[in-house]
Amino acid sequence: MKVHRHSYDAVIVGAGGAGLRAAIEAAGKCRTAVVTKLYPTRSHTGAAQGGMCAALANVEEDSWEWHLFDTIKGGDYLVDQPAAEIMCREAIDAVIELEHFGLPFNRTPDGKIDQRRFGGHTRNHGESPVRRACYSADRTGHMILQTLFQQCVARGVNFFNELHVLDVAFVDGRVGGVVAYDLATGDLHVFNTKAVLFATGGYGKMFKVSSNAHTLTGDGPGLLYRRGIPLQDMEFFQFHPTGIYKLGILLSEAARGEGGILRNQSGERFMERYAPTVKDLAPRDMVSRAIQSEVLDGRGVGEAGDAVHLDLTHLPPEQIDAKLPDITEFVRTYLGIEPKTEPIPIQPTAHYAMGGIPTNVDGEVVVDPDGTAFPGLYAAGECACVSVHGSNRLGTNSLLDIVVFGKRGGRAMVDFVHSTDLPDLPGGVEADVRSRIQSLVSGSGGEKVARIRADLQAAMTEKAFVYRSEETLSSMLATLGDLVSRYAEVTVDDKGPTFNYDLTEALELGYLLDLSEALVVSARARTESRGAQFRTDHPLRDDANWMRHTLATRNGDGTVELSYKPVVTGDYLPMERKY
């Protein structure tokens, strides 16, 4: 394998919303390379539909403080309150800045940015739903991704497209470089750099029913975890209530924001029983559990009775065409159903990773309970855990997170590279990547990536989904043990250097397996139910013992060690979460 060497002040890994926003911040200020396994516009930020929240108060009274309250309550009080305050305050400028960058938001009659309702966002601390989500039809993420990419083009940002980052090199306790595999040629690239910012997105492909792209495999958190960086709050994975039945393709909460209603087998609007005030617009964890409960009690719909209906038939057809054109088209394409006249079968779908690489509010990766930053190491976006979402993210707060913390991380990284020299990178930092690739290509084991991945996804969906218990999680750990041994026997069919996706899928599966283990070990230890984690054997929230973040660290021998750090609290005291 040929090795190409580069030297930069900073490297950004990933070109979704978070990576691109960081790149805009660094443009013109330091020599920066953006390295991405997909063309930037293929990133999954482009799939986001519903909106991005900011208390602009364009259509009704609102304040960033109410947004903060909703974020903390929505996150079931595991949110670090000062970090969330920064996000909710800076939300307003972030939206305005995107507008200045050219983002085509939908407009009010007087030409301002229009806003709509979204789950868990309320006026005056829970009184009633509020219109806070800024949006562009049901392709808000697409418009954010395109707009940020356009601004990168305008600034001449330096992209290395279709380079798959596989390792990071540390030198004397600081970042020294990253190692990437070139999809087009099979060559390796070593970037000597002062700093690296990971923005590799989520890892929802560990589950079978998922709204995530095939490429969301947690490479960033996975490769750092192998280098001893802890992962925070991995047990909190969000299951979005409305995925298209069996396929998991997302139907945005905007469908309910526009007035859509969830109904069970008898047509009952069951959310009235679970969340009397906000009903269908309760936060996602609660709606997903309500759906599962309806299904378990025999009130489901669909072939196996394991779905419920999302009903849009009472909405004016013009409103559907104007506000929800894309998602209704998905329903027509994949289910052959006309959503204007027929209800849509839906089920919870694995959607969003609250956990990830621990960072502070400047995107610096913090590696212990004291918040010690690792010099030169940054993360932002879904792969990071700031933690502004706590144990359950509110809809529209991720697009916000990636823009706010992408920018902050980029800015802090620029300051850092101006204060330091380029470290000497010893030869041979690519050795580990080289041997991983060689063993997959030339191994003699007969295991196939697709089989192991399918087994992983099925097991995770059965044992570590909306409902969990000691029993299911222990059983999942045993399954993982088997899967990891089988993974050691994988040999890929494709031995060539050119667009060898057989190989990259094998490498990605390795990260999914490691992250699944971190998730399951963290979830099993947390003997309470909070936000997205529901333990049937510990159904209540336990503030006395569990107002703390989990840190999962992988030891040299492969075992997972857990430690904890307190939640950074603030003005809002935990109370019962009713809607």
């Binding site: 293929r42 050219g102 085509p104 940015i113 083009v153 095939h214 393709i249 394409t333 196939k448 250097p497």
Partner: protein
């Protein structure tokens, strides 16, 4: 639902081995409602790991998997097997999009396509300081360029264009669509600068209104109409 057997005929090329492309047929079992992308996956995952094609989102929003399916440009993730194969035992042919160099199997070199996109100033130009609030834009002005904001840069239009096949200098429909998005945005001030670029020899006037681009667009963008609107604008605004 009953599984169906389909024949998937793929035009293959491996630069490390082949001198020219060749067809290879695979028999795949699929649910009728599976996507053609699922059928390609079932080849790569269960039969032949060397089959290369790009994909990510799997539901028509990332633009990775434009290819020629049964002779027409489409995204493999939004065409269903039952529609492409006709029925049980049917055949689906799949080949790389035309006009861009094939690298391996269904993977083409996208760089010329993105270079053309970059050449038309595909970003908002406005040098006035708007202060701390948004620039206002009426819903009517916003609607003026709505259609062309939907583009996912999949290249289905450009690689369906007979003019582009004959002349790779032509910026192509996708670049014009992305220029249109700004030309008709009331906030944009690039005005004649972008229009000058578009009226150069390799610009909009190469279009012969073949409508192939509109038919190919998986996002339903009225591509030909957008090109016509830009043509008109270059004529009337610049004199």
């Amino acid at each position: 639902m009953a599984l169906m057997d389909v024949e998937l005929k793929v035009k293959r090329f491996n630069p490390d081995r082949d001198h020219k492309p060749h067809w290879q047929a695979f028999t795949v079992q699929a649910e009728p409602t599976d996507r053609v992308l699922d059928a390609l996956h079932s080849v790569r995952w269960d039969q032949d790991g060397t089959l290369s094609f790009r994909r990510s989102c799997a539901h028509g929003v990332c633009g990775s998997d434009a290819m020629i399916i049964n002779g027409a440009n489409a995204l493999a993730c939004i065409v269903l097997v039952k529609d492409a194969a006709g029925g049980n035992g049917g055949t689906i042919t799949v080949e790389p999009i035309r006009g861009l160099p094939v690298i391996k199997d269904l993977v083409v070199d996208m760089e010329p396509f993105f270079a053309q996109y970059r050449s038309v100033m595909p970003y908002l130009v406005n040098t006035e300081d708007p202060g701390y609030t948004e620039r206002l834009q009426s819903p009517e002005d916003r609607a003026r360029y709505d259609d062309t904001t939907k583009c996912i840069l999949c290249a289905a239009c450009t690689t369906a264009c007979p003019v582009y096949w004959g002349n790779s200098q032509y910026v192509g429909p996708a670049a014009i669509v992305n220029a249109h998005r700004f030309v008709f945005d009331s906030r944009d001030q690039a005005g004649t600068e972008r229009l000058d670029l578009l009226s150069q020899r390799s610009g909009v006037w190469k279009c012969r209104t073949a409508f192939s681009c509109s038919e190919a667009c998986p996002r339903g963008i009225k591509v030909t109409q957008a090109i016509q609107e830009v043509k008109r604008k270059t004529l009337f605004d610049r004199i």
